[in-house]
Amino acid sequence: MTQAPTVLDVDRLIDDRRIRILVCCGSGGVGKTTTAAAIGLRAAERGRRVVVLTVDPARRLAQSMGLTSLDNTPRPVPGVQAGSAGSLHAMMLDMKRTFDEIVEAHADPDRAAQILANPFYQSLSSSFAGTQEYMAMEKLGQLRRAEEWDLIVVDTPPSRSALDFLDAPQRLARFLDGRLLRLLIAPAKVGGRAYMRVLNAGFGVVTGVLTKILGTQVLRDVQTFVSALDTMFGGFRERADYTYQLLRAPGTAFLVVAAPEPDALREASYFVERLDEERMPLAGLILNRVQRPPAAHLSAARSVAAAETLEAGAPAAYPLAIAALRLHAERMQQAAVQRRVAEHFTAAHPLVPVAEVPAQPDDIHDLDGLRRIGEAFAAVNGSE
């Protein structure tokens, strides 16, 4: 026997004024950005002052919200039917710019210029895999502190694993604040005499190997970067910790986004378990692209059998019916596979509420499309 999951009531979630941050997580390609935009739009049209923060370089949100560019500043979204109470802004994270701003805020102008010009910093701020997550968290913290919006919807970076959003900022902060970097610039500064010898020995190996791998010039860039950054030590860790705590605070809820496919739901499972360990508040699972054939009472097997009967007679006689029956059989098969995969998830996580969004026949590229998705959330709730 399989247990049906509780239905996630998205409207109640977005109407709850205590909720100030909604984080949409999930692996790539599951419709995360679209979900974040649809939720933001629906919340705005239900009277919330919303900002949607997207970190996806493909600029999909920009397209679906009719904006030509998103540039690290929240821009009002035109065409929102929000009345006087609600509003919708959207922004796309520019991670390098966000990083630059932190540097400028924490270092005096000379030192800031020195850091910004450093080749190692330039690589770190524009292409390190964890920088995007760290800066997304940083931006989230800034938006929250600005107090201009009463709901922030965050679309997390398109990483291979949903967990990266939680782990990467800490990893980067640990690195920037870490012992390793201090070792590289001034081994003598660290610690008491007891482990000095160990550290010095370690230091020799470390610099030796790093020189071998990277060459002296890279190491020199890193060392210059680190010594220029010296005044900011502690700052990175603190900021990452602040945002991490924000994610655990009562005003935050996580939505895990997935498609009814094994890979996506496996990632969703990992994430749900992790949130639980971290005591971070999970609101539920949004399951996109659910196949719901209108003629669901005709089974795949009977549909195929009927198509075969017609083909065995005079195939040319009923091409339309044959095409319709074949298509229906495929859709029923797909629906069955999806249901099985979703049931696996619910069996493992029976308490996680689920909102299903039916597969959309067309791509979403405008506000009407986003509105339809939002209505699907409501319909899920209404049908129970």
Partner: protein, 342 residues
């Protein structure tokens, strides 16, 4: 053994990229099977640590070691009842940390340095923090497998298929020289990167794009192709359209259905002739399904045309309605072969 021409004769490193959710790993697996059929030896490489290959081929999680995971079908044109000999697909899950340890051992005999360095966070630093190094190590491993010699047979592998990072990151991933030269103008890593580039920027390498016929993945594919063309010497390969669901309708019927103008009388007659009950309700339901799908099919034709206009060879793989499994994978491999992709 009979050989036949394929579109990618001479290519030995097949880099497979695609937007998330398009079935990149599945297609990479199918391509490896297709390339291995007829007695070839192919290495299928994973670089993003998801264990996607193990799940696809239904084997336990794979280590950082080359393991045989599947036997490819024999060539149908060969001799014998089984049509000649089958081939072998090996798999390797490459991660940057293991690749770095291997690299240190190979070039500096630093056999035991790995553990100590891991403890100090150096491995973390070197593989995830130092930009570009990770990509150099992973592409380096692929280039090494392509170049590797085997005493008996000449080359260790006939082909290497890499399940590469997604389309949005593929240019940066492959263009390691540019990434590294900003950092390391001289030094061993630079030398290593240059060797890797001699493989990647050569006719031996092709970058295939996996997509589905939706607007965003197609746009990313076109952007990706343009990006590679702008990177001197990195060759875009084929465009592989995955999960295609053609509708068996004549053009005029398709157009009518997409407009919602389906001949429901004709449909009802057919359903009745098939002996189904409750024909009116069924007709309404199936007509809705058909009209929706017709709209999708027309939109897909537009996307297919955009892909064709990009000028790279296109291949189409069928959608597997019962979910992807080994049988489905072999079907996709056969489809790739019949279309000349392998």
């Amino acid at each position: 053994m009979a050989t036949r021409d394929t579109d990618w004769d001479g290519v030995r490193l097949h880099v497979v990229t695609g937007k998330g959710g398009t079935g990149k790993t599945t297609v990479a697996g199918a391509l490896a099977l297709a390339l291995a059929s007829g007695g070839k030896k192919v290495l299928l490489m994973e670089v993003e640590g998801r264990q996607g290959i193990a799940q696809l081929f239904d084997v336990p999680p794979l280590p950082y070691a080359e393991r045989r995971i599947a036997v490819a079908p024999a060539s149908p044109s060969g001799p014998g009842i089984q049509g000649g000999q089958g081939g072998d697909v090996y798999a390797l899950v490459a991660d940057a940390e293991s690749a770095l340890v291997e690299y240190l051992e190979m070039f500096y005999s630093l056999r035991h340095a790995g553990t100590a360095l891991t403890k100090l966070g150096v491995m973390d630093f070197a593989t995830t923090i130092a930009p570009g190094l990770r990509d150099v190590l992973l592409t380096g491993k692929a280039a090494e497998a392509v170049r590797r010699k085997d005493s008996g047979r000449g080359r260790a592998y006939d082909a290497v298929v890499m399940d590469a990072p997604p389309t949005g990151r593929i240019g940066r991933f492959l263009n390691v020289t540019a990434e590294v030269s900003g950092l390391a103008k001289v030094g061993p890593i630079r030398g290593h990167a240059d060797t890797v580039q001699s493989v990647i920027r050569s006719p031996q390498t092709a970058v295939h794009f996996v997509t589905v016929l939706e607007e965003m993945p197609v746009q990313e594919t076109l952007d990706g192709i343009a990006e590679l063309r702008a990177l001197d010497g990195i060759r875009p390969g084929g465009v592989i359209v995955n999960m295609a669901r053609p509708l068996a309708l004549a053009d005029d019927e398709l157009a009518a259905a997409a407009e919602g103008m389906l001949d429901t009388g004709q449909l009802a007659l057919g359903l009745k002739a098939a002996g189904l009950d409750d024909v009116p309700a069924l007709t309404a339901g199936l007509a809705t399904e058909l009209c929706e799908q017709a709209g999708t099919a027309l939109a897909q034709d537009v996307q297919l045309q955009r892909l064709a206009d990009a000028g790279q060879p296109c291949y189409t793989l069928p959608w597997i309605p019962h979910g992807m499994d080994l049988a489905g994978l072999y079907r996709l491999a056969a489809a790739l072969r019949s279309q000349g992709a392998a």
